[in-house]
Amino acid sequence: MNRVLAFARAPFDLLRSPTLAGRLVGLAAVALLVVLTAFPLGVLFHRSFEREAQLSLQNYVEVFSAARNYQPIWDTVKLGLWTVLLAAVLGVPLAWVVARTNMPRRRILENLCLLPYMLPPFIGAMAWIQLLAPRSGYINQLWMSLMGTRDPLFNIYSFGGMVMVMGFYSFPFVFIAVRGALERMNPSLEEAASICGARTLRVARDITVPLVIPSIMAGMMLAFLYTVSNFGIPALLGMRARIFVLTTRIYAYILRGDMVGIQLATALSVVLVGLAAIILIVNRWVISKQHGAAIISGKSVRPTRVELGRWRYPFALGVYAVVGLMVLAPIVALMLTSFLRAWGLPLRWANFTVRNYEYILFEFPLTRAAIQNSVMLALVAASAAVVLGTVLAYIVVKTRTRGRQAVDALVTLPNAIPGTVVALAMILAWSGRFGINLYNTFAILLVAYLSYYTFYAFRNAAAALAQVHPSLEEAATISGAGSGAVMRDVVIPLIRPGMLAGWLLVFAPTLRELTISILLYGPYTPTIGVAVFDLQDAGYFHIASALAAIIVVVIVGINLVMRKLLGGRARAM
């Protein structure tokens, strides 16, 4: 409540900015933020308590009394728990190998472990379908021909399949958190235990593990949040097996198109946000209990590494086999399929072709329109997000505007909320009920992307601004520069790399966005994500794969550029 009150003061403080331009820009940015985020989410919350224009709890009563409504809540939690377990089992040992052993080629392993982090999970789900679809998947075919059986090894369209793919795409959260903790831990803490007489394993048990547990927990929380928010994987793998989680159930209700469907979807959305909020609160609480935080944080040090001795190479081989299967096999499958004349044909030279690429790029109207739309959306969204995010970051970091923490919270909020919910909020707010109807237009996609992704531009601009010492601006002021000139000549040039990184961080995910787009696209506004999803769902694996392969290449390229831009910092992203 205090935050809300403080936020109400922000406009008054912004009005006191020394220049007219400063006043206008600041107020416009905050107003835009309210329109983009606070208003639609407020509408969503309000509508969940509404039936036939009356305040009512009916929606929630229906949600908690029908199995097909409450079952998804339970399945979402179950999927989340199993997934984070798998993510921890994969992420912790891999982080240890990278941070604390002398295994050869650790940098390559590290990059492989970060790869799933940048790829869209629905493309991962597609690729795993190609590997483990019950009869036609590459691995299942290989298994059946080797074993002479007609039973496939594994059916990817199952709860187990969802957990597996989800785990493969969320373990980087645990990996990044734990690797960071292990690398930054002061080696003297462990050395002190050795001096006290503890042997290697004893040191690990008594010192190392207790100190990294908070990081493991933090990584698992993020993985959980990621899992319950995800749409692509449960949509491609679960819906066929009639397994619904919250995101897919909401999607199904919205697709039904009637009023009650929308109302139930709204109530389920609030439940989903509540679930995410509980995780964030628990996360905060866990962080506040971390005694080790102060010891671990700080500048990076050279950690002591475990010498693997003569087991070095066999060990590396084993690790690479596991990670290669997990990370590279699906990408290889995707690439292979994209060159096949039709899905299901044996992998023979005669069956390979570049036809699929020609088709999606030059002939097929759906994919051509999708590419055009997505490129345009990503360009506009990234540029607008950088402008908006930078202004807001300046207000939060560099001014003493009251309510600036509320601005910070409001920019960050949509990113903590599942995209499905953000999309529904946009439908409720911008379908004409409040005088503006953007439904089925390019604009509603843009507004939703901005609401959801401005956070990335904001965070990068804020980090860059925090590096600009106030005296650099003051030196320009005392030199006689007005506030416009200070911006143009000093601030903007200094934060340009951060702004560019922010631009790319918005551009890359919006280019292939699925979760929001699938609820908001109209007949004339398909996006790449939607096109890939629909083609895959309709069984045109080879065409979907070609489009997905292009996306994978573009995204990896963008990430390489970003790394160059940010230098060492990119590793933390």
Binding site: A475, G482, D489
Partner: protein
């Protein structure tokens, strides 16, 4: 170039934190004035009030005959025509030396060729000729400092403000830059306000200086006056080394008097009085004696004797600690003096100032 005048300036942060309290200063055109004090004393805030980065809560600030700050008006820093050197230099990392130095001229919309000419001159003035195209990351700390100085000077400001400009340099370079700043001041005849916590720096540079503590100017005067006649134990302690010896004033004759030091066998010392004694004689208090004012003599030649507890060789002198009846006296001797630890030695306070007791306990002792 102009004078700077602070008239009863007060600056309060967040309602009750008084950073600067009722400060009045008249800095004449062409003077160098140092604001000196421990960290948190308000010296930097005072400088930022002059620059216009902060507005006063009460009082007025004049530069020349222009009212630039009061509780109602605040001329922005950009329109004050001042030069400033920041503690961390604030040299812009994305501009080369010439662009950094030329920036004040650029915002004054000077022609490119004139900017070039004058920036090159200013760069040469601080001894950086040949480095015009370098970027800050390719410069040493001292060189960046000179860039900041050139940038502050290039637009011929009304006055130059320096905020602990040398505190990030090593001792040798600091010494050198001090004299260069004095040199520049003499050549350009600038009004110069200099903030520092380094008393040696303030002594060397100032025409006069302001010793600050807790937002107040506790003493204003020339370095000589402040060193020789500190107005309070705080100033005495903050500037140079000081002995504070518990004593009582037993005789008084105008501003002079005689005090007895009980720990030193009631040695009687002629002293000057820092203030009018409040009560009748004898008045309890402390006697302030500079180490160099302690006269040393061989064993048996003086009334009072102590034991040397430590003799430290400091290059130009020998620093001594002498135990006199349980009180420690600091004294000094020429570096070659034949004085050893444990030796008995005669001591006599030559020149002393008497501070009354309450003055010492009113919370103004140095905590720096």
């Amino acid at each position: 170039m102009a004078s700077i005048s602070l008239r009863n300036v007060t600056k309060t942060f967040g309602g009750n934190v008084q950073a600067v309290h009722d400060m009045s200063l008249e800095i004449a055109h062409g003077e160098i004035v140092c604001l000196l004090g421990p960290s948190g004393c308000g010296k930097t805030t005072t400088l930022r009030l002059v620059a216009g980065f902060e507005g006063p809560t009460a009082g007025e600030l004049w530069i020349g005959d222009r009212l630039v700050s009061s509780s109602r008006t605040l001329v922005p820093p950009a329109r004050r025509n001042l030069g400033m050197v920041f503690q961390d230099y604030a040299v812009w990392p994305h501009k080369n030396v010439l662009d950094n130095v030329g920036y004040p001229l650029k915002v004054r919309k000077m022609s490119r060729s004139r900017i070039r000419k004058r920036a090159t001159e200013a760069t040469a003035l601080v001894g950086l000729e040949g480095l015009e195209k370098r970027y800050p990351e390719q410069l040493s700390g001292g060189q960046q400092q000179r860039v900041a100085l050139a940038r502050a000077l290039v637009a011929e400001p009304e006055a130059l403000l320096l905020d602990e400009p040398l505190s990030n340099l090593d001792a040798k370079l600091r010494e050198k830059m001090r004299f260069e700043i004095m040199d520049l001041h003499q050549r350009l005849g600038l009004t110069l306000v200099y903030v520092t916590h380094d008393q040696a720096e303030a002594m060397v540079l100032s025409d006069w200086m302001v010793v600050m503590n807790r937002g107040k100017a506790v003493q204003v005067g020339t370095p000589w006056e402040i060193y020789r006649s500190p107005s309070s134990p705080f100033v005495a302690d903050f500037i140079g080394l000081a002995n504070f010896l518990p004593a009582q004033l037993v005789e008084r004759n105008g501003q002079q008097g005689i005090a007895e030091i009980p720990a030193a066998g009631s040695q009687r010392v002629e002293c000057s009085l820092a203030s009018e004694p409040s009560g009748s004689l004898p008045v309890p208090g402390v006697l302030f004696v500079r180490p160099e004012d302690v006269e040393l003599s061989s064993e048996g030649e003086a009334d009072i004797e102590g034991t040397v507890t430590r003799a430290t060789f400091l290059g130009a002198r020998l620093d001594l600690r002498v135990d006199v009846g349980g009180a420690e006296w600091r004294a000094e001797a020429p570096p070659g003096a034949d004085i050893a630890q444990g030796q008995a030695i005669g001591v006599k306070a030559q020149r002393a100032i008497f501070f009354e007791k309450e003055e010492q306990t009113d919370g103004e002792t140095a905590d720096a």
